[in-house]
Structures are given as structure tokens and as C-alpha cells.
Amino acid sequence: MILVVFFVLPVCLLAVISFFPTSPMTGMRTGFAPENYRYFWKESYFLKATTRTFEYAILATIFTALISYPLSLWLVGRSRKVRVTVALIVVMPIFITVVERSLGWMAILGTNGMLDSILQSFGATMPRLLYTGTAVVIGLTNTLLPFMFLSVFASVRRLDPSIPAAASTLGASPMRVFWRITLPMTSSGLTAGTALVFSLASSNVVTTSLLGGGETTTIPVLLYEQATVVVDYPLSAVLAVSLCVIIIVVMNLILRLTRKGGGEQAVVVPQ
């Protein structure tokens, strides 16, 4: 089947290649060179890029969650028209490629860009934003918000509004209702969104390389350079394997964390 040839085979190959010695002519040759991995872990340059990668990913995940959750809670109480319209505005940009949206942020955040011009007309000066980590986090939050929102909104909408209502009738304070009922009952969407956004953010090349500069290099960006400019396949394979392993482990941890907590099963709804 196609999937085996174009997915399973290349991925297995990737793990093998990551052990190949580099060859300056063709990018690699066959052999066994575990020092590739040692190189990766010893070079502080890569370790710094790794921490930066996950720093941006974690920030983007937190921001998307902080936007999606209150928005979803507010939306479920609205009329169908408002709900669908706002939800569509948030989700539709998913269909417009990240390249175009990053371009938009360049036009907004850059020197003489939209924000700069508006601030200038008020006589204020804007701090340099484009090509900094701030721009990267803004861009990632923007491009990944639809993914977080889709899964959070789905679980918030499934919550039966009579349950929190019953809790407050029985005398629970709004805070208590939120922490004990609403949040635990909708945590499945939140964790699914977190896993997805974290994975997409920590493997992002386009937004990070366009909105970030030299000092914001992340592992995916380095990997892309190694593969296409330097043509060092073994090193890019090492980067890819290391990154993917970390991402998959973190995703599974996040997903398992809530399953253990009981999630939706914690509340027994009397029939």
C-alpha cells in the first residue's frame, strides 16, 4: 500500500540515516556513526535551540488555551447566529496557508508596518517586534488558535448546562462550580488541543523563520537549513528523530495525564 511505501519506509529509513556518517559530496554515505547523536547533545548551540523551541511552543499553547477556553464558554450561551459567525471567524484562517498569514504579521509588526505607523501618528515609538521571539509567539498563537479552539469548543459544547446550574442551585460558588464541575468536565478538549498545538508549534518552520531572526532559531528551522542549504542529511535526521521523539513523548504524557484524572467519567449524571 502507498502508505507503507511513502510513510513507514521513509520513517524507518530516517532512523537509520541518523546514524550514517556525513559525506560532503552526496550528503551522506552508509555506515554507522552514533557520534551524530553525541554531537547533537554536546553542542550547546543545539541545546539552546531546543529550549527555545519548547519555550515558544509552550507559550503558544498557553495563549491559544487562554483565548479558546473563555471564548468557548461565552459562545455556548449565545444565539446560534452569533455562535456560528464567531466560531467561523476564528476557524476559517485554518484554510489559508501559514505563509500568507505570516506575511500579514510581517506587514503589521515590521518597521513602517501597520502598528508602527499607527503608533507614530500618535507620536509614540514602537519597540522592535519583528524578528524577535515575541513576533514568533504572536504568529504561532495566531496560526494555531483554530486547532485549539476546535477541540476546546467541541468539548465545552458537549457539557450539559444543567449540571453547573444544578451545582450553583445547591449553593456552590461560581469559582467552585468552575473548578470542580466545568473545568474537569471539559478537560478532554483542552488536553487534546494542548497536545495538538504543542506538537504543531514545536515543529513549525514557516512562521518561526519568517517572523523570527538569527537569535530565535529553533530546531525545526535549523533542521530545514541542514537539509536544504547545508545538505547534511544525517544531522537533519538526528534533529528530526530527537525532536519527534520528544514531541511524541510529551503528547502522550499530556493525553495520559487527563485520562488518569478520570476526565468526564468523574461526574456521574443520574438518569
Binding site: L14, M92, A107
Partner: protein, 268 residues
């Protein structure tokens, strides 16, 4: 109490407006800047003209990219639709050995970060001397899209009343007639949406395409990305606008067939 309620409402409205602006602004800014008649990107854009759009349509790297992207996306939609339907049919209507494995395999490409798949395919290409072949790109897009077709069509297929199929067969309809006259009309809607999603996914894909880009295999978004790394001018904005326009067509089609909100599960 009433003022408190009103303040709460006001905060909510401001919050939602801010989010909507945050999501729409980057898209709209590009379109506004593309229509400038000036030679440089500046805000607010001065003048109004289509000259940059025209120039973008005359720039070979973009037009080549548009043609390739449309070809690949259309191919992915058609082939993905066929393979996806067959797979969905096998999964929803039959039990067979290794069914779980097949299901896992279908979603697997979506769980591995695109950079992993991208570099894996690139090194495979280099080993086999296939660098820059656009059919590898096509296959990569195909395997990303199939999961969506299978899921959407699967829901449609699962909803078919099996008694109707059995009845038609008992009454003497040939298998082909049963398929086209009884089954197909019942899952046509989800299938069309699945194909359109496949088209959009392929057209917008950059993660893997970046790695597979060579002169003959540079898709439109990748061409724009490479151009953007070196240039920042109204031509980029015009190309970005074209990209949005091309993405809007399939979305409008989805809207026509089932309603985009329903297709995304945002509406009941």
C-alpha cells in the same frame, strides 16, 4: 446588579472583537497592501491599482507554482476520493485481519510532525536519485489527505441502511447498480466534502513540500515562502492575495454543499 451585568457584557464584546481582529487582520492587511500603486510596502497603502496582482501573474516562479499546486491538489482530491472511499468502505462495512493496523496507518502521517516526514522523504529521494520529482510530492500530499476522506466518507457510509442494499440485491439489481443507485447517493455529500478538504490540505501544505521543493516541484506556497525570505515588496503581497483567493474557492464549494460550519462540526 444590572450595571455589573452590563460591564460583563461589554468586556465579553471587547474580548471577542479583539480575537476576531487578531484572526482576520493578517489576512486583510496583505490584501490591502497588494492593491497599492506605490513601489514599496508602507502603511497605509497609497493609491489603488491592480498592477501588482498583474505583475504577480506574470512572474514565472508564482505562475509555475500555481499551476503545479492546482494540478497536485486536483489530483489529490480525485485519487484521494477514490482510495479514501474504498478504504472507508472496507473499514466500515467489513471486518478483516489487520483492520486496526490499517486504521492506525491511515492516521499515522497526521501524528508525525511534518518536518519528520519531510526530511524522511527527502533522504529517500536522494538515495534513490528521485530528487525534485513532483510525483513524490503528490504521494506525500495524498497520504496526508486520505485520513480526512476516510473519516468523512466513513461517517456517510456507516449511515447507509444495509436493508436497502440487501433488498435491492435480492430484487435482482446487479452489484454495480446497487452501488451507483442505492449507496452512492447516500454518501455523495460527505465524499464531496472529503475531496474538497483533500484539495485544500494539499493546496495549503508547506511543512513537507518545503523539503521536496526543486525547480519542478515547488508549490505555490513554497514559492512564495522562498521569495519572502529574500524580498519584501508589494509583489509578495499580491502573490499572498492570490493564494487567499485560490483557497476561498473550495471553501465556498463546501459552503454550498453542506455549509462550512457543519462540515467543521461548529454547527449542529
Amino acid at each position: 446588579m444590572r450595571t455589573l451585568h452590563r460591564t460583563k457584557n461589554l468586556i465579553a464584546v471587547v474580548f471577542v472583537t479583539l480575537i476576531a481582529t487578531f484572526m482576520l487582520l493578517p489576512v486583510l492587511v496583505v490584501m490591502a497592501e497588494a492593491l497599492t500603486s506605490a513601489e514599496h510596502v508602507a502603511f497605509p497603502p497609497s493609491g489603488l491599482s491592480l498592477k501588482w496582482i498583474e505583475r504577480a501573474l506574470e512572474t514565472e516562479i508564482f505562475t509555475d507554482g500555481i499551476v503545479l499546486s492546482l494540478e497536485v491538489a486536483a489530483g489529490v482530491a480525485i485519487v484521494g476520493g477514490i482510495i479514501g472511499t474504498l478504504a472507508a468502505y472496507a473499514i466500515t462495512w467489513h471486518d478483516f485481519r489487520g483492520k486496526n493496523l490499517v486504521e492506525t496507518l491511515i492516521v499515522a502521517p497526521l501524528t508525525l510532525p511534518a518536518i519528520g516526514t519531510g526530511i524522511a522523504l527527502l533522504s529517500l529521494e536522494s538515495m534513490l536519485g528521485l530528487i525534485g520529482k513532483s510525483w513524490v510530492l503528490f504521494m506525500a500530499h495524498l497520504m496526508l489527505s486520505i485520513a480526512f476522506v476516510v473519516r468523512l466518507t466513513g461517517v456517510g457510509l456507516a449511515g447507509i441502511d444495509r436493508n436497502g442494499v440487501v433488498a435491492a440485491a435480492t430484487l435482482g439489481a446487479r452489484p454495480r447498480t446497487v452501488f451507483w443507485r442505492i449507496m452512492f447517493p447516500q454518501f455523495r455529500g460527505p465524499l464531496v466534502v472529503g475531496c474538497l478538504f483533500a484539495f485544500i490540505i494539499s493546496f495549503d501544505e508547506v511543512g513537507i513540500s518545503l523539503f521536496l521543493a526543486a525547480p519542478a516541484s515547488t508549490t505555490f506556497p513554497v514559492a512564495l515562502y522562498s521569495y519572502m525570505l529574500e524580498n519584501y515588496d508589494p509583489l509578495v503581497m499580491a502573490a499572498g492575495t492570490l493564494l487567499v483567493l485560490f483557497s476561498i474557492v473550495p471553501i465556498l464549494l463546501v459552503q454550498r454543499f453542506v455549509g462550512i460550519a457543519r462540515a467543521l462540526g461548529l454547527d449542529e
